[in-house]
């Protein structure tokens, strides 16, 4: 079920601004509880703008609202935050750094 894409996580300006209001604040949650996708990928997977998408990695699984973003096909972007932490595995390959970018992710509409 679903399709295998590549997840990257990262900072956004909204996430940075929301941080000062507290990480349980509505602003921070709105900034971090979302997934950006390529428009063609969304159409092919029958995911509507704002529709819920299930993301599953070796680290875990989350459901987030999907948005069209300026992403090339095959990529999914989730801002740093609680949902991203569930998807990123703790394995660091001997470096101390987990794979916050370039994670295999299975994507399907809910």
């Amino acid at each position: 079920m679903g399709e295998s894409l590549t997840l990257i996580t990262g900072r956004t300006r909204e996430q940075g601004i929301g941080m000062h209001k507290g990480k349980t604040s509505p602003d921070y949650r709105r900034a971090t509880e979302r997934a950006e996708m390529n428009a063609d990928d969304m159409a092919r997977l029958k995911i509507e703008e704002g529709g819920t998408v299930r993301l599953r990695t070796a680290g875990g699984e989350v459901e987030l609202p999907a948005e069209k973003g300026t992403l090339p096909p095959g990529l999914v972007f989730v801002p740093l935050g609680a949902p991203a932490n569930l998807l990123v595995e703790a394995e660091t390959l001997g470096t101390g750094m987990p794979s916050f970018k370039g994670v295999d992710v299975t994507v399907e509409p809910v």
Binding site: V88, E89, K101
Partner: protein, 422 residues
């Protein structure tokens, strides 16, 4: 009575902008000027209402909290001291002293940020410069795997894009700007050239660039999704520029290859000095994460991932880095200074902090403070405490206290713990 304080330093990100203007009305911050949208909240929304420490959720006096922290650390066989990057150099020194005293592992947020950059630096060296040189001299600027428009919003204006300097009097017109990233961003919109690289292929692209700079001809039509003519054009511009600078970020350190990617970039930059002055500056995230690297290096010999368990400093990325130590369940107590690993670590690592006694020093009630047994609400350096922070180019910036604090600093609390531990 209202007062205007000029040249205030913002410690949110590694730019440590020290030209901020703060309006004070008595002991209240009434306005902030020149700060970016991301840093502004750090000063504007500063809240020192947490005045008393907590032990297991109960408000106690400072002495009782110090005793509780000391009891936890005295009982621990393998304590972890983590964070430090949003604290000041003065407190970072104390954290290392405490680690040495109790045989702890000390690691900083560098390990989930530019730790791989540190590994690359140790392997191949780093040709670098200050941000002042970038502003005054750089005519070719490359942003690789970073997005300052989201993470360091004033970087472009103060140093790297539109800033005017001695040899760049026309600012933006005097610079050619490249962005290399896996997707278009707010930063790539402002560049002259955007090279979209396929995820996980930075190493190959950098190796190809090194080869092109050496004058080799490559047969491939494209590397990592970038057409060869565009890559050749970048190589030629790099060789022909007067003063080139690369700013690099998490796109290299967090993806496949990690320190190998960064090492390849640093080698390219070193080799470019046969043709032009060329330098690289890592885009440091937290306001004093560069200071944490400095302090750990000058006091232990290593920038992060240091264990004092054997009575002398041992370096072990992957072994003594916080995510690994927590995910493997090896730490039996933690002291977290000015950082929020519960909010930022992969879940499997963060949840171990809930299983062990954790001590937190933080001006705000972070998610980590929410699970901690002992919480010290400390003053914030640059707002109600003075200290020193290192900017991303390793220039130390003095931090002044704007307000009178009713709370001790990280340094003072760590000092009291050091005095009391066995």
């Amino acid at each position: 009575m209202s007062t205007t304080v000029e040249h205030v330093a913002c410690t949110f990100c590694g730019c440590v902008c020290d030209d901020i203007v703060v309006e004070l009305e008595g002991s209240r911050i009434a306005g902030v000027r020149r700060a970016c949208s991301v840093g502004r909240g750090m000063i504007d929304e500063y809240d020192a209402k947490l005045r008393r420490p907590l032990v297991r959720g109960r408000e106690v006096d400072w002495e009782e909290a110090v005793e509780a922290a000391v009891t936890i650390l005295d009982r621990a066989d393998s304590p972890l001291i983590y964070g430090l990057s949003s604290s000041a150099v003065e407190a970072q020194r104390k954290a290392v002293e405490l680690a040495d005293r109790i045989g702890a592992i000390v690691d900083t947020t560098s390990s989930v940020c530019h730790g791989p950059t540190g590994l690359a630096m140790q392997a191949v060296g780093e040709v670098t410069c200050t941000l002042g040189e970038v502003r005054d001299r750089a005519d070719l600027v490359v942003f690789w795997g970073c997005n300052p428009s989201a993470s360091h919003p004033r970087h472009f204006g103060r140093f790297s894009l539109t800033a005017k300097g001695t040899h760049t009097p026309n600012g933006r017109e005097d610079r050619t700007v490249y962005v290399v990233d896996v997707r278009p961003t707010g930063s790539s919109k402002q560049a002259d050239h955007f090279l979209q690289v396929d995820v996980g292929t930075d190493f190959e692209v950098l190796t190809a660039l090194r080869s092109l700079v050496k004058g080799n001809r490559l047969r491939s039509e494209s590397i990592g999704g970038i057409p060869m003519p565009r890559l050749s054009d970048l190589a030629e511009r790099m060789k022909a520029c007067r003063y080139g600078v690369v700013f690099m970020g998490m796109g290299l350190t967090m993806s496949r290859g990690r320190h190998q990617n960064v090492g390849e970039l640093f080698t390219l930059v070193a080799e470019l000095n046969e043709h032009a002055r060329f330098a690289v500056i890592p885009m440091r995230g937290h306001g004093n994460v560069a200071g944490a690297d400095q302090v750990l290096t000058w006091s232990s010999g290593y920038p992060f991932a240091v264990s004092f368990a054997r009575g002398y400093p041992q370096y072990g990325p992957g072994e003594f880095t916080a995510v690994d130590v927590l995910a493997r369940g090896e730490a039996d107590a933690a002291l977290v200074v000015a950082s929020d690993p519960v909010a930022h670590f992969p879940r499997r690592a963060a949840e171990h902090l809930e299983r062990i006694p954790t001590i937190v020093l933080d001006p705000a009630r972070s998610l980590t403070a929410g699970i901690a047994q002992v919480v010290f609400p400390t003053a914030s350096y640059g707002i109600d405490a003075s200290g020193t922070a290192y900017r991303m180019d390793n220039v130390p910036i003095p931090l002044r206290a704007l307000l009178v604090s009713g709370r001790p600093t990280d340094e003072e609390i760590l000092d009291r713990i050091i005095e009391a531990v066995k």
